[in-house]
């Protein structure tokens, strides 16, 4: 198994090894993190921000990079980091399963639960803040004369009687003047214990449980706490950035959903206050898992008034896009940190030579064809549109396997998620290594190995993955999984037919929009597809104007299985709900109907068309 060889030396045995950011040392985070093309500048702005992204899209890595130790390494020292005009003090707060969403909370009424959840979250953030001040900031950066007073002031933010036992506990463990931050951590820890003790009593005893601990809110605790934190920093009023990582995880469990919503409701209430100069929130989650934008008072937070947001799952992957460049930088950095002799990822993952030559030939042919076709549009667009399609058609005719080898192809196949690039590369490298080649002798990954791995990686998504999804859901939802599998097969076949049809004008179709209202059962299938990343979801302006419709883009990782072109998508198919239902039920009939309908369409314009093809515009978001 490939691991980081050494915690400090940063030498990667397998350059594509993926490690959880929480396991990396600050130096490793800085070495591995690429800030270009990540929109980190938006995240660094003093505005509440939501960072949406799938698992493995780099959200946690970005958060870890913003922590003080990493920032100081990145800028070459604490002075350099803290004296910047846009400096901030980031507190990383990973929300772990089971720590805040406790089952016993379900025993409380809605009002009581929100109070306790907010107090739990406050204690969690406060504890992490003290931990950061103790372990991430050199002591000379904090005004020590003020620290004891700071600790007392923080303790006084609570109701005096309620906090007394926790103060007593902290006093017995450490002298406040010796270690004020630790003293506060013990105090917060004791409050956390009190909450747990209350929840335990509530669950286990017949007698009515009475909560005897303190409570805390935003205005009476969290904000004043952060103001006090600002006051003890030697560099003046740095804003405190609270980085709440994983604030929403997808779940079908209604009880869990309720607790998740409670938590999100508290976060939204904090966001609604717009106190960014002191306390700025950065919240990461899977977009579909963020279930409410409502505050505790029932108001809604809105973008851009209350917050900004970025989506780290990229849509466009073509050469020269941000994503392409980002992957290139990340991959090159990883090659630098490994023993392999090649340090350029485009050389390390070469394309299939034979196919390269073939494509060049088809490009030449379509260039000439453009003249004979009376020069429609621009010549380059014509070549882009048809040359690759001709290659696919040729390979089908000559019964040759399509190669997806080459850095550019693999970037496309990763569909905008960095982990989906690293994972197959990891497997390719492992395969090279297990064939007996020494790491320093691995100068590149042969294209046949790339192809084998990419095909298996794609196949996993259409075979094994559906079984896994089924196992992860209750039986009453299994019909949705079956429908999704059929829908994917239908679309795969449809797009294959288009791409391999020499007469097709829009050969490189890869996405669809839905016209009209979608029935609930079909909508659930689509949602499942988005949740498990078979589709990326965006919106598109309707042709009629005045509205937006949902736009589903197939995960390009599937391309090797359906022999599709991952290099881009020109146009989309507009499907009716009926057509979608058919696609969820019968792929053969679905593909046949489309073709048949197209023929009918040309002969009889009165008939309703099953598919409408529309030109892609640039206004997708």
């Amino acid at each position: 198994m490939s691991r980081f060889i050494d915690n400090n030396s940063l030498q990667l045995e397998n350059p594509f090894h993926v490690e959880s950011p929480e396991k990396l040392s600050p130096r490793q985070v800085v070495e591995l993190f690429i800030s270009d093309y990540t929109r980190i500048e938006t995240v660094k702005q003093r505005k509440h921000t939501f960072i949406w992204g799938s698992r493995g899209s780099g959200k946690s890595m970005m958060f870890r990079f913003l922590e003080p130790q990493c920032q100081s390494i990145f800028y070459g020292g604490y002075e350099e980091y803290l004296s910047r005009s846009d400096a901030f003090l980031a507190i990383y707060c990973p929300i772990k399963e089971g720590a805040l969403k406790k089952t016993e909370l379900l025993l409380l009424d809605d009002y009581q639960r929100l109070i306790i959840v907010e107090h739990m979250m406050n204690m969690f953030v406060a504890y992490r803040t003290m931990d950061s001040l103790r372990t991430q900031i050199p002591q000379e950066r904090i005004s020590h004369d003020q620290c004891t007073q700071f600790a007392w002031q923080v303790a006084q933010l609570f109701d005096r009687a309620s906090i007394a036992p926790s103060i007593q506990e902290a006093n017995t463990r450490v002298k406040i003047e010796d270690s004020p931050m630790l003293w506060l951590q013990i105090l917060f820890d004791n409050e956390i214990r009190k909450i747990n003790s209350f929840l335990h009593t509530k669950a286990m005893y017949k007698t009515e449980a009475v909560y005897e601990g303190a409570t805390s809110g935003y205005h009476d605790f969290l904000m004043p706490l952060m103001r006090l934190v600002q006051s003890i920093m030697m560099n003046g009023s740095l804003p405190v950035y609270v980085l709440l990582d994983d604030a929403g995880k997808l779940t079908d469990n209604q009880e869990k959903l309720l607790l998740t919503k409670n938590q999100q409701c508290i976060i939204n209430s904090w966001v609604a206050n717009r106190d960014q100069a002191t306390l700025c929130l950065k919240v990461s989650a899977e977009r579909a898992a963020y279930k409410t934008y409502s505050t505790r008072d029932g108001a809604l937070i809105e973008e851009p008034h209350d917050y900004s947001s970025i989506d780290v799952d990229e849509l466009y992957t073509k050469s020269k896009t941000n994503y392409f460049e980002k992957v290139k930088l990340i991959a090159n950095r990883r090659l630098e940190l490994s023993l392999v002799p090649t340090k350029d990822i485009t050389e390390f993952l070469p394309p299939n030579k034979e196919e390269e030559l073939l494509l060049a030939e088809f490009k030449k042919q379509t260039r000439e064809e453009w003249h004979t076709a009376k020069e429609p549009g621009r010549q380059n667009d014509y070549v882009t549109r048809y040359a690759t399609a001709r290659l696919f058609q040729h390979l089908r005719k000559t019964k040759k396997r399509k190669s997806y080898a080459g850095f550019g192809n693999i970037v496309d196949l990763s569909s905008g998620v960095i982990r989906a690039f690293l994972e197959p590369c990891y497997l390719m490298f492992d395969e090279c290594k297990s064939s007996g080649t020494d790491i320093p002798s691995i100068s590149h990954i042969p294209s046949n190995i790339q192809d084998d791995v990419l095909f298996r990686y794609a196949e996993e998504l259409v075979l094994k993955k559906f079984d896994e999804i089924r196992e992860g859901l209750p039986p009453e939802k299994w019909t949705l999984v079956d429908a999704l599998a059929t829908l994917i097969a239908s679309l795969g076949q449809l797009f294959y037919e288009r791409l391999h049809d020499p007469d097709a004008r829009e050969a490189r179709l890869f996405s669809f929009t839905v016209r009209g209202r979608v029935p609930d059962d079909i909508d659930q299938v689509l949602q499942l597809g988005v949740r498990y990343r078979y589709f990326q979801l965006r919106t598109y302006s309707t042709k009629e104007g005045g509205g937006r419709e949902k736009w589903y883009i197939l995960n390009r990782r599937l391309c090797p299985v359906y022999k599709l072109d991952p290099s881009g998508f020109e146009g989309r198919i507009s499907l009716t709900a009926e057509a979608l239902r058919l696609a969820c039920e019968n792929p053969q009939k679905f593909v046949r109907m489309r073709l048949k309908q197209n023929i009918n369409q040309s002969s009889d314009h009165e008939h309703p068309t099953l598919f409408v093809l529309e030109e892609e515009t640039d206004d997708a978001n």
């Binding site: 089971g98 720590a99 025993l107 956390i192 747990n196 005893y205 017949k206 469990n253 039986p475």
Partner: protein, 329 residues
């Protein structure tokens, strides 16, 4: 601890009360679709006496596909217990709805007025409980009763079905056993594994722990079970940051000793999450760990469905064991 074949137990006089010659305050059993769910009650000695007999049922099974076998098992249990208990009560809980599950258990298991001076004795046939209900029941009887003596009976099957449960509804901590997490510690997941690799993987994926300690049941209650356990867990063991250890499956005390020794090295630095997914006896040991270390959380993966048609066959050995006195660190 005593281990005997079902027939041996019956022929040697049957199962006695928790404290010999003193009637139990409570006899608790779960009526399920498994044939072995009545085996322990059928093996009670003729002079067995309890003040209260409780037959717990999950309402989802009561009205589901296996309702016929459950109803017949209930009648069988009722008939026997009516002769041995002053009163017999049906407690209809839910394996899906955790709130109602707790409410039913609390209202039926806990004495109305705990008597401080008297030792409250219970015999629990733990064979057919799902682990969450079992853990909550034991927790209630240990926490809510001041002086509690608990004897447990477990009947192992001859064999298990091809699958035990399928699908996944989510994870949750067991009521009252949510632990205390330090916000700065990373998490360590300890799994006492059984035959359900998918549920195990889900638990790992949901918790995203820093480290996983995967326990294989060795010695097992049956050598074949160990082979299957190893086979089923191959994929889990192949994952990054998963370390293997072994735990005894048939003795509460021995399993507890292994877990205590194992966790000693991690308690200081990790938030510990314990996922008992093996025998019911080792599940009780997991509870005792959490009782001793309130920081430890016990987690439970809610399955999509149980194999009610073919969960297990027969009734093999009867294990009789007692929970130790309250353990303090």
């Amino acid at each position: 601890m005593l281990i005997n074949k079902v027939e041996q137990v019956k022929s040697s006089g049957g199962i006695k009360t928790a404290t010999n010659d003193v009637p139990d305050d409570l006899y608790l059993v779960c009526a399920s679709y498994e044939p072995r769910s009545v085996a322990a009650t059928e093996s009670l000695s003729l002079d067995y006496k309890a003040r209260k007999g409780i037959i717990y049922i999950n309402k989802e099974f009561y009205s589901g596909a296996s309702s016929e076998s459950i109803r017949s098992n209930i009648i069988r249990l009722q008939t026997i217990l009516e002769q041995r208990c002053d009163s017999v009560e049906l407690a209809i809980g839910s394996w899906l709805d955790v709130k109602s599950q707790l409410e039913v258990l609390k209202s039926t298991l806990l004495p109305a007025k705990p008597e401080q001076s008297k030792e409250w004795t219970s015999t629990i046939d733990i064979t057919s409980f799902n682990r969450e209900v079992l853990l909550t029941s034991v927790a209630l009887l240990r926490v809510g009763v001041i002086r509690s003596r608990i004897k447990v009976i477990y009947v192992s099957p001859h064999s298990h079905g091809q699958w035990l449960s399928r699908g996944f509804r989510g994870i949750r901590n067991v009521m009252g056993l949510s632990g205390i997490q330090s916000p700065s510690k990373q998490s360590l997941l300890v799994v006492l594994s059984g035959f359900e690799p998918d549920r195990t993987i889900r638990i790992i994926e949901e918790h995203e722990p820093r480290l996983v300690l995967l326990g294989l049941g060795d010695p097992p209650t049956n050598q074949e079970f160990l082979l299957r356990n190893r086979e089923e867990m191959k994929l889990v063991l192949a994952r990054q940051d998963v370390k293997e250890f072994e735990f005894p499956t048939a003795s509460i005390q021995e399993c507890l000793d292994v877990l205590q020794k194992l966790l000693k090295n991690y308690l200081q630095d990790y938030n510990i999450i314990l996922a008992p997914m093996s025998t019911k006896l080792s599940t009780i040991a997991a509870f005792l760990v959490a009782e001793c270390h309130p920081e430890v959380q016990i987690t439970y993966a809610l399955p999509g469905e149980y194999n009610t048609k073919d969960y297990s066959t027969g009734a093999d050995n009867v294990y009789e064991d007692w929970l130790p006195e309250l353990i303090t660190r």
